[in-house]
Subunit: 215 residues, 2 copies
């Protein structure tokens, strides 16, 4: 079994944090998104969508989609639990996980894709649409600040996959000029809480995370 | 327990089909998307995102996000199984479920939102971006046609939640002028296969599905 990883992009990173939290060690194979290695035929044979990460099973099957990969490992090793201990808790954590993906990360990602130099000429960019996404994301951050007024983590009292997804989204957003306004005290406090976890720190540098987790 | 339902929109419909396949009966409450009832304070108190469907538990908790609702019911009543019988199968079905959402439905929905009269003045529409989504969706349909050359259903040999999601996406797409090209024989054959299921037929008319499932 091995995991095709993609550096600092938010989706590969969320799986690295997830595995670090659970203390699971999987050999990583770095795929260079910067040179579009994930859009070349060799990688597309593994995942026709060209997205990362991808988990390769020993029988040669390829599992794409970060949350599907997380759920597979969650079932293999339920503790530290990150996706829920009973059906009701699992459902509510999935609700928050999906909200973080559809209502936050997706906006940041679209804003990035439609403005960055990297995607110029690769996809038809649309700066006006990027601005719409950016403005909607700002509203979402305000909503999140209210949500986080009465609880320490996105889905409730404890750290879950929903926090991992939001953290990767916001950290990525910060690097593409989608910063959280300092007036949003609760979101900023939450961010510091998550950022201080060893899993978040080790996930910053894929190569060292790999070495650290293989040991 | 009751389910806030939203007529012919694809996400509420996928839960109706899911429940019909499993033979689960839940009282429905119709929310009128046409008059933006889902954007009014009374509904936003249930789900701040304004999306449908929403499941209300007897203790007053509100579960949003169609797939989270499906997973809750899947765990309550694992057969007819629609999301996988072991951890590996669950992971691969989730991969396909997510691909259908992110790579197909999302494009159709964006194309719809950015062109339709209904959203004029409600959101900043962007016709150029709609066209980009439309063109990408066409490529996805061609990819799907190859995928379906060697298997009857999206995730493999049997009907799963991934088929439900794609079916709702394509049927909705057809109604907003995103039709499947007749040359895509496999996708069209798959569509007819799913369309002929009693669950798909009964889900077309929310009111009658409600009556039928309550009995």
């Amino acid at each position: 079994m091995k995991l095709y990883d993609g550096g600092r992009a938010p989706n590969p990173r969320r799986v690295r944090i997830f595995l670090a939290e659970k203390g699971i060690s999987v050999p990583y194979v770095q795929v260079n998104i910067g040179t579009a290695e994930n859009r070349q035929p060799a990688f597309l044979a593994k995942n026709p969508m060209g997205t990362l990460p991808v988990l390769e099973f020993d029988d040669g099957a390829f599992l794409a989609e970060s949350v599907a990969i997380c759920r597979y490992f969650e079932e293999q090793k339920p503790e530290q639990n990150l996706m829920g201990r009973d059906s009701r808790e699992r459902a509510f954590i999935e609700m928050w996980q999906r909200r973080m993906e559809f209502e936050v990360l997706n906006l940041t990602a679209q804003s990035f894709r439609n403005t960055t130099e990297f995607f110029k000429g690769r996809i038809p960019q649309n700066k006006e649409y990027a601005e719409v996404c950016r403005n909607t994301a700002i509203k979402r951050f305000e909503w999140l600040d209210k949500e986080l007024a009465n609880r320490p983590y996105i889905a409730g009292d404890r750290f879950t996959v929903a926090d991992i997804i939001l953290y990767c989204a916001l950290d990525f957003g910060g690097s593409v000029n989608q910063k959280i306004d300092p007036s949003l005290k609760n979101v900023n406090a939450w961010f510091k809480r998550v950022e201080s976890r060893p899993s978040a720190k080790s996930s910053l540098h894929p190569a060292s995370a790999q070495t650290g987790m293989k040991g």
